[in-house]
């Protein structure tokens, strides 16, 4: 699946998401659980503000000196006998890996979870090879694959939108599973199935949480241990990584693994944290052939510009877990494999505003994302920046709302116009105003409310009642004048 997961327009996706009550309940439950777990794990570490500061500095440093670290990393991979390929686009990356599979005569590919391989649509590309089998070995990704490559809806918990009954159904229909819907039974079944497949695998594909520049090794964190098997068993391994995913040395990887585990799943560390590379003399396992594919695919659009800090992201998903918009519209609503606040910032950087221009507006700018981000990406500010680029630089909005927004800009900058607005608003609202029903107190105090307004205000009254403004001589400024003159008389 490429970055875009749906051809449906934004409003259609929103309507579909709203109907998916199971998804909404599952997201809310996961968010609520993570508020507790993540917060506890961070408090447990202590000095969170300072850790964040350090993590931000590490990521900013790497992004600033990216060409140097890429060169150092590539040199070290090659010094250990590995191969490095720089891919400009998704197709270049996927084609290169497909060619490796063909050259090696591979028939059984096993993969561990990797967003960037989803981004380059690798599974589909490999399946073009006759007789090829591709197996996702992360449990959640395995479920999606068996469900005819259903879209992931979270970058850490890709099957958040499915419940145990749906998963049982998928296993039953696709794999002949006859057991009940107990998650333990389902997981045991998947484990047995996956173990058998690992043993016949001839090509392993992993992502990369961090690439260690000074050693040419890669760092992977998982809770299932599947990535370790993907690296240990097949003779050939391909690592796919976004080009920004580097750290200078093990020292910095250790810091970021902490930040990642605590932020993503509220754990001190994941069950497996692995540092590995090509099998070298004296080692009993690991790949004999080791390839690293470094993917740009739009990332360099962010370098040196307003959106550079998005490259600091370590893909922990914490911003999704605190986002009140994601809470309701889920991954499907965003229509990108990168949903939530980070997705709303990153997707337009990678693929442009034509495809993802709606996403930066799908935020109330509450700042929960910026607050939780372990590497201090100012996400809500970047969302405003995207809006600015679209409205001020690209002039993409040609609707009447654009004229109105500019009008609001003039009116809120010109005292005489605002005085006029305060003078006529009560009368203007008159014909629209209703007197009943009023179920609230101290809210509708000036002669009714508006239930249905035209134009830009329609969005407001589609959802809520709007109190009628006070008469000119009853508004706050009139009150203040009266108040002062009474005070001076007494």
């Amino acid at each position: 699946m490429p970055i875009k997961t749906s051809e449906q327009p934004f409003l259609t996706r929103l309507a579909e998401s709203e109907k998916d009550h199971f998804m909404q309940a599952a997201v809310a439950k996961a968010q609520d659980a993570q508020w507790d777990k993540r917060t506890a794990a961070r408090q447990d570490l202590g000095n969170w503000a300072q850790w964040r500061e350090l993590a931000e500095q590490i990521r900013q440093h790497v992004v600033r000196y990216l060409p140097d670290y890429l060169e150092e990393f590539a040199d070290n991979v090659e010094a250990r006998g590995g191969h490095v390929f720089f891919a400009k686009t998704d197709d270049e990356a996927a084609d290169y890996i497909k060619q490796i599979a063909i050259d090696k005569g591979a028939q059984h590919v096993v993969k561990s979870k990797s967003m960037v391989t989803t981004e380059i649509d690798l599974d589909k590309k490999l399946l073009e090879i006759p007789g090829m089998s591709v197996l996702e070995s992360d449990l959640a990704e395995f479920i999606l694959e068996e469900d005819d490559f259903d879209e992931p809806t979270h970058i850490v918990f890709p099957t958040l939108h499915k419940n145990r009954d749906q998963i049982r159904e998928i296993f039953h229909n696709k794999l002949g599973y006859d057991g009940d819907n107990d998650p333990q039974h389902l997981a045991r079944f998947a484990r047995k199935y996956l173990r058998a497949s690992f043993l016949q695998a001839d090509l392993g594909v992993t992502g990369c949480n961090f690439a260690i520049a000074d050693s040419g090794m890669i760092n992977l964190v998982t809770n299932e241990g599947n990535a370790d098997l993907v690296m240990a068993i097949p003779k050939t391994q391909v690592v796919v990584m976004g080009m920004e995913r580097l750290v200078p040395s093990l020292k910095e990887a250790e810091v970021l693994d902490q930040m990642l585990s605590r932020s993503a799943v509220g754990q001190k560390l994941t069950s497996y944290a692995t540092f590995a590379g090509r099998q070298v003399d004296g080692e009993s396992d690991g790949p004999e052939d080791f390839y690293v594919v470094i993917v740009d695919n739009g990332r360099s659009n962010a370098l040196g510009g307003d959106f550079e800090s998005v490259l600091q992201c370590i893909r922990c998903g914490a911003c999704l877990n605190v986002c009140p918009v994601y809470r309701h519209i889920g991954g499907h609503g965003y229509g990108s494999i990168y949903p939530g606040p980070i997705g709303a910032v990153l997707s337009p950087v990678l693929r442009g505003y034509k495809e993802f221009g709606d996403l930066p507006f799908a935020s109330s700018l509450c700042g929960a994302c910026s607050e939780t981000c372990p590497v201090k990406i100012p996400l809500h500010k970047l969302l405003i920046k995207h809006r600015e680029v679209m409205e001020n630089q690209l002039h993409m909005d040609h609707s009447f709302n654009n004229v109105l927004m500019k009008g609001i800009g003039v009116a809120t900058g010109t005292p005489a116009m605002f005085r006029m607005a305060m003078g006529v608003d009560h009368a203007m609202f008159g014909p629209l105003s209703k007197q009943a029903p009023i179920s609230t107190e101290n809210f509708i105090n000036h002669g009714g409310f508006v239930k249905s307004a035209p134009s830009l205000a329609k969005g407001w009254t589609d959802v809520r009642d709007l109190p009628r403004p006070p008469k000119h001589d009853e508004n706050f400024r009139a009150w203040f004048k009266k108040h002062k003159s009474e005070a001076s008389r007494s």
Binding site: A49, S364, C366, A368, T372, I384, T412, S439, A457, R477
Partner: protein, 266 residues
């Protein structure tokens, strides 16, 4: 001390009761208030919508208006609008004429509860309100302005008032300025969850320090035909005041605000 009232466009246009309550509370504690007449709006409606160019004049006007009167402090009844004024130095850093003025403005501007608690050192404002209430903690006030505690400290000391914690305090109510107008499909779901949370507390009154969030939440209450009374914190602190109840707090005993989002461990 002299206080310039940063009235905010929403209070000017819609809610005189909130502005009046704020002025009365401030004057009760010895502030000499003025209302700069040329002020209009902090600029968030256009700025946050991406019309940054169009917002320059709005920010200039607000700075000229609020700094144009003789005042030691500038106080506003809205965490979000005050947070925007606090961001002016960042937005105007490359503006040779206004960069320094923006900093002057930001340095003397406070949100109402912050000012009452941290500057006036009022712990018990002498108010009395016999009811059960819950408090909506607005996002910009907490995350951008970094004020998480002042309203709660003040509410704790209102005589007769029982405060019930609001579940999912951390979630946005779905207002988000122009977001509420431009994305009603998403905003509706968010405000519905907020209304349900408020209803679950069985509180009689919903209190906040941001009238715009209240306009969103209570507007939805009215549309759904659900009952609630709405009060800005200023109105609560202005209820049945008895000056004999007033208590002050020493600087050293102030509960810290909690800091901006950058310092939080959430």
């Amino acid at each position: 001390m002299k206080v310039a009232i940063f009235s905010t466009c929403i209070i000017d246009l819609m809610f005189p009761n909130v502005g009046a309550a704020m002025v009365e509370v401030l004057e009760r504690f010895g502030c000499e208030t003025t209302l700069p007449v040329k002020q209009i709006c902090c600029g968030q409606p256009t700025f946050n919508s991406g019309y940054v160019k169009e917002t320059q004049k709005v920010m200039h006007n607000e700075i000229d208006a609020l700094l144009g009167v003789d005042a030691d402090y500038i106080v506003g009844p809205a965490g979000s609008c005050v947070a925007m004024l606090k961001e002016y130095p960042e937005h105007l850093k490359d503006d040779p004429e206004y960069a320094a003025k923006a900093q002057t403005l930001a340095d003397k501007t406070y949100e109402f509860s912050q000012f009452v608690y941290r500057i006036l050192h009022v712990l018990d404002a002498g108010a009395q309100l016999e009811t059960t209430a819950t408090y909506h903690r607005s996002c910009h006030m907490t995350r951008l302005l970094g004020e998480r505690t002042a309203p709660f400290e003040l509410l704790k000391h209102v005589d007769g008032l029982t405060m019930v914690p609001l579940p999912h305090l951390e979630n946005c109510c779905g207002f988000g300025g122009m977001f509420s107008v431009k994305e009603p499909e998403i905003s509706r779901q968010m405000v519905d969850e907020k209304v349900d949370s408020v209803l679950s507390t069985k509180a009689e009154v919903l209190i906040s320090c941001d009238q715009a969030c209240l306009m969103n939440i209570v507007g939805r209450f009215n549309r759904r035909g659900e009952h609630i009374k709405v009060m800005h914190l200023a109105e609560v602190l202005n209820s049945n005041v008895d000056m004999d109840r007033v208590q002050y707090i020493d600087d050293a005993d102030l509960v810290p605000g909690g800091g901006t989002y950058a310092n939080q461990n959430q």
